[in-house]
């Protein structure tokens, strides 16, 4: 691994992202607009907005970063640049950390705007402090990024990559406890939700909203970070220098 190459890779990915103004605008604005929409959809039940709004603040970055990264990495694979990169001094870790750094920065901007709108303007209350919501949302974005990198190995076209969104992301949204508390689900589904990482983002958001930071919240963040590292490690295995 070489820090100069890692940073150059992160800068390159950000430059590619910046070149696509429309995507940047969507990434930065859409989550905030959806929060505003949700706020007024739930105008008659502000408590529900407090509860679901914060959970969605954790889910949006996961979904958007998953989509952007899976397509970006798929392009890297199909355009031949990945093969070319792997003939240079770049280590696989440089590439993965470069992507993580670039999308981490993008996620921080996205989450920063959405949090400011949700808490500053829409008046969502959080007991443990804004910092924890941002930490969870950025961790969620990195989780989406890491899973996006991973699934790009199983897609051969951009159509397929986008189809992984409903396949990988929607079940997690259904099972994460936002629609029905996880403890009220059938045992099998409850167990399933225990092994899906997005559940811990949503659990963490619920905890952050209602209580001050404690071991439970730290534990949720730790599980999400563990899942990010695991997904990156499996993703690294899919980056083969030698291919048939």
């Amino acid at each position: 691994m070489n820090p100069r190459i890692t940073l150059a890779t992160a800068a390159r990915v950000l430059r590619q992202l910046r070149g696509d103004r429309r995507t940047v605008a969507m990434l930065m604005v859409v989550p905030s607009l959806l929060m505003v929409l949700l706020r007024y959809v739930l105008d008659s039940s502000p408590f529900v907005f407090d509860e679901i709004g914060l959970q969605l603040l954790g889910i949006f970055p996961f979904v958007t970063m998953f989509l952007v990264t899976s397509v970006a990495m798929l392009r890297e694979r199909t355009s031949g640049t990945l093969e070319r990169l792997l003939t240079t001094r770049l280590a696989k870790l440089d590439l993965l950390l470069g992507y993580a750094l670039a999308f981490g920065i993008a996620a921080l901007a996205q989450v920063g705007i959405a949090t400011a709108v949700t808490m500053g303007w829409l008046g969502l209350q959080i007991v443990s402090g804004v910092g924890w919501a941002v930490v969870l949302a950025v961790a969620s974005a990195l989780l989406g990024m890491a899973l996006g990198l991973l699934v790009s190995a199983f897609a051969t076209t951009e159509f397929q990559a986008v189809q992984f969104m409903p396949a990988v992301v929607l079940p997690q949204i259904l099972l994460c406890g936002m629609l029905v508390p996880r403890s009220h689900m059938l045992d099998v589904l409850n167990w399933l939700s225990d092994v899906l990482p997005l559940s811990y983002v949503v659990d963490g958001m619920a905890r952050a909203r209602t209580s001050t930071a404690g071991a439970g919240l730290v534990g949720d963040v730790a599980v999400v970070i563990g899942c990010i590292l695991a997904a990156l490690a499996i993703g690294a295995v899919t980056l083969r220098r030698r291919t048939p």
Partner: protein
């Protein structure tokens, strides 16, 4: 010029799927020369080049580049590879592509080196343009420049002159010879026989087997023809008779 070959291939066998692409191929590529890898489409040229840069899974055999097994970490800054389809970032500017590949090659001053390389491939003043907006030929030259930017000792180029206009092709071949005169080893694949005459040495590949490995003059003499295309035909017929 060194006498040690830059690349040594011994009994190389490669299968892709169920098909055998290279059949126990052996050859040596001299350092400091322009070697042409010629053969029809589908003869295994790209597969052989991929073996030399260490991205092709091989079944058996030995591939040594600069005395080291192909694909080893220490070789990565010393070997430049240009794939057949230009593999650069179409959504970045020409300059940003070059700078990135310069950093990957460990160049101390990527910006200065990028500008220098731009003029080498005839794209001086075009650094600010987005690669995706360039013509096919310009796109290919950016891809070539991204390999040259690291000043590698061995250049492996997969059909770098396809689709370029004759003047550009002549300029690029001139560049390849300048690089060879500087002591670099240049391996260029092509399916166009009229490029064969521009090489110091030729490897003629057909259906995964070498039909010739010699200088153009020696090949002409051995086959009794001045036309290299005709020479290839005679060699290929000889191979068919032998097998």
């Amino acid at each position: 010029m060194t006498t040690e070959p830059a690349i040594v291939v011994q009994d190389l066998v490669v299968d892709r799927g169920r098909r055998r692409v290279l059949h126990s191929l052996s050859c040596q590529i001299p350092a400091g020369q322009v070697t042409g890898l010629l053969g029809p489409s589908g003869s295994g040229k790209t597969t052989l080049l991929r073996c030399l840069v260490g991205v092709q899974r091989i079944r058996s055999g030995v591939v040594l580049v600069l005395g080291v097994p192909a694909g080893e970490r220490t070789l990565r800054a010393r070997v430049g590879y240009v794939t057949q389809a230009p593999s650069v970032y179409a959504d970045l500017s020409v300059r940003d592509n070059l700078r990135y590949f310069a950093v990957l090659a460990g160049i101390a001053d990527p910006s200065a080196r990028a500008e220098e390389t731009l003029s080498t491939v005839g794209l001086a003043g075009r650094g600010g343009e987005r690669v995706g907006r360039l013509s096919g030929g310009e796109h290919a030259r950016v891809s070539l420049a991204c390999a040259l930017v690291g000043s590698p000792e061995v250049l492996v180029l997969d059909e770098p002159t396809v689709g370029l206009d004759p003047i550009l092709r002549r300029d690029l071949w001139r560049l390849f010879h300048e690089l060879a005169d500087d002591g670099k080893t240049v391996l260029v694949s092509s399916h166009v026989m009229d490029e064969a005459a521009r090489c110091d040495r030729l490897l003629l590949l057909r259906e995964g087997r070498l039909v010739a490995d010699d200088s153009p003059a020696a090949i002409r003499q051995a086959t009794g023809t001045v036309d290299l295309e005709e020479a290839f035909l005679r060699l290929a017929e000889g191979q068919d008779v032998a097998s």
